[in-house]
């Protein structure tokens, strides 16, 4: 009897999980399907799900009209650059907070998180003026700096959580064996925290890839990443839904594939330390 209930519950949970998963994925699926329709089919009512004349015309048009690879390369540089720079700063910071906490460590952590509570537009003008004066407008360097600063609280928090799970005694043992602080972080702590660092890296690449406020506002023609590429196909006057869908699919495809292949690490990283 218990087994029957358990099996029924299992089936119920499985169906519910699939339903939630499909509901979350449906807008992406719809975008991908729309990208293969003509503009007329994209607005047809009732909409056709799978039975329409599939076409690659939108992808051809988008490729002709925009330089996809330049935007793609900018996205790669900006997202990887900001994540790596963030990790270089955050690993020592998280180490000190996890293993040598001070009286105010919790407050510092909360303060770091509080910077995420300010709407970005609130600091747009000051940052824009600074960037203008130091010549960082429309540069990949400028975006790497801004996205590093924006994602730093999340990186520090995630790493702090992982580091707290590592027994301090191991680091103590390393110290007793004569390891310097640098050795301790690089040769002892980092290898043990590789899964946590990997999932932090992945999550931040995704966050930086999808960031659309600063990447749109601080770039023009040269450093614009894929977010600007998508925005260029959105129009309040003129129906370009199919082309917009093609541009969106091209923009999200790399990160979708990355997420698909690294989902195990991502899930593990995100749930690490959640259950004790």
């Amino acid at each position: 009897m218990a087994r029957a209930v358990s099996t029924r519950r299992k089936i119920g949970f499985t169906i519910a999980a699939w339903a939630v998963g499909l509901a979350i994925f449906f807008p992406i699926l719809w975008t991908i399907l729309t990208s293969f329709k003509t503009e007329a089919e994209a607005i047809s009512s009732p909409p056709s799900f799978l039975f329409f004349d599939w076409t690659l015309e939108n992808y051809t048009t988008v490729q002709e009209r925009s330089n996809y690879f330049r935007h793609f390369w900018n996205s790669v540089v900006i997202s990887l650059g900001s994540t790596v720079l963030g990790l270089i700063i955050a690993i020592p910071a998280a180490w000190s907070m996890a293993f040598v906490p001070g009286k105010r460590t919790k407050d510092v952590l909360m303060w770091m998180l509080s910077t995420k509570m300010l709407p970005p537009v609130g600091v747009l003008i000051p940052i824009y003026l600074i960037f203008r004066d130091v010549g960082l407008l429309d540069t990949k360097t400028g975006l790497v700096i801004v996205l590093t600063l924006i994602n730093l609280p999340i990186i520090v928090w995630m790493l702090y959580t992982y580091f707290k799970e590592i027994p301090g005694e191991i680091l103590e043992a390393a110290r007793m064996d004569g390891a310097t602080l640098r050795d301790e972080i690089i040769h002892v702590l980092t290898p043990m925290a590789v899964p946590g660092i990997a999932s932090t890296l992945l999550l931040n690449v995704i966050l930086a890839w999808n960031e659309a406020f600063w990447t749109l506002n601080l770039t023009a023609a040269k450093a614009a990443p894929l977010t600007a590429f998508i925005a260029s196909y959105s129009s309040p006057e003129g129906l370009f839904y199919a082309k917009l869908s093609a541009a969106s699919t091209m923009a999200i495809a790399p990160i979708l594939i990355l997420g698909w292949f690294s989902q195990k690490q991502l899930v593990r990283g995100l749930t690490f330390g959640a259950v004790k």
Partner: protein
Amino acid sequence: MSIKRNLLVSAAGLAIAASAAHAEEITIATVNNGDMIIMQELSSQWEEETGNTINWVTLEENVLRQRVTTDIATGGGQYDIMTIGSYEAPIWGAQGWLEPVGDIEGYDYDDLIPAVREGLSHEGTLYALPFYAESSFTLYRTDLFEEAGLEMPDQPTYEQIAQFAETLTDRENELYGLCLRGKPGWGENMAFIGTLVNTFGGRWFDENWVPQLDQQPWNDALTYYLDVMEKYGPPGATSNGYNENQALFQTGKCAMWIDATSAAGRVFDPSQSDIAEHVGFTAAPIAETDKGNAWFWAWSLAIPTSSSKTEVAKDFLAWATSEDYVNLVGEEKGWVAVPPGTRVSTYENQNYIDAAPFAETVLNSIKAADPSDPTAEPVPYTGIQYVSIPEFQGIGTMVGQQFSAALAGQKSAEEALQAAQQSTMQEMQAAGYTQ
């Protein structure tokens, strides 16, 4: 011989070097619509002729507005040319943010439609050159009107429009009598409602900048709008902007649609529209007065004062807004695709008149739209569907949200107007217009 050849080679080299030294790279920020896409495609000809190159930054209209406002207000200098509307041109010109463009040698200013030129000027100085202009008008299904034995007058009234809509609405077959904008925003639902209020005899502000949203004409206009939308409009109208209504009209779900004249070319194109053969056009309806019943908008090209390449930018402006460019589009992309509403010569061109049967209606709508005299009662501002003050973007969007809530049935017309009046009053007091 050898010396001669060397001299020739050197001279050619110097000429190439000189032209390369003068070649500039300019950045143009623009919106994504059919006319601008054509401009991008054809601009390679200007690049070849001049040796200059263009970086295009194409953005969605609201993103572009935020982006260029930030850049221009802070003197960022990222753009050499920007696409702006008739709302921005006089305000930014007055602020000293735009280069005057009324002095380009050889440019045919007299060919510009006077209302368009006026709309892009501040105190007589022209700050942008028009790329295409639009007004608003009524689009309707001639086949449905014929079947129902109805006749659309040249100048319909809103009362007649409601009667037609009642006759033509067939909800069971997903046919809606009247499609109007419902999506909140100063350039969305408020563009239409602004003209509706004008023709119902209302105005945004009196001569002392006191908001007038608590006056009877606003109540009459909003009540009419909510009533016809509820009875004859499509479901979920609060999310319908220009694009959504175009999609509904093109797929045969709207009997009438009051919106931008620039829609004409799109709904008339059989490759885009299911009902291309059955589209009729007539003037925007009127109610109590014929003043301000149709809006005016001109997408234009302007040069920010922060640009260091003013001369090259002016050269591009002159090329892209010229009669020659109109002819180039006609020859390369078809006459129905030429940018409308800016030049008198376009409407004298037989090729265009033959290809675009809506040309005369559009021209008449644009000519009749007078942003300097938009209302029955006197006002301290210019602009038909907008008020040419910097605060209007915020005020218009906030009022649009109130009206959208009323359309969704969340509040009554009176409640929406009361809230809109209160917020507008606060905004105007904070900005120092009133005490």
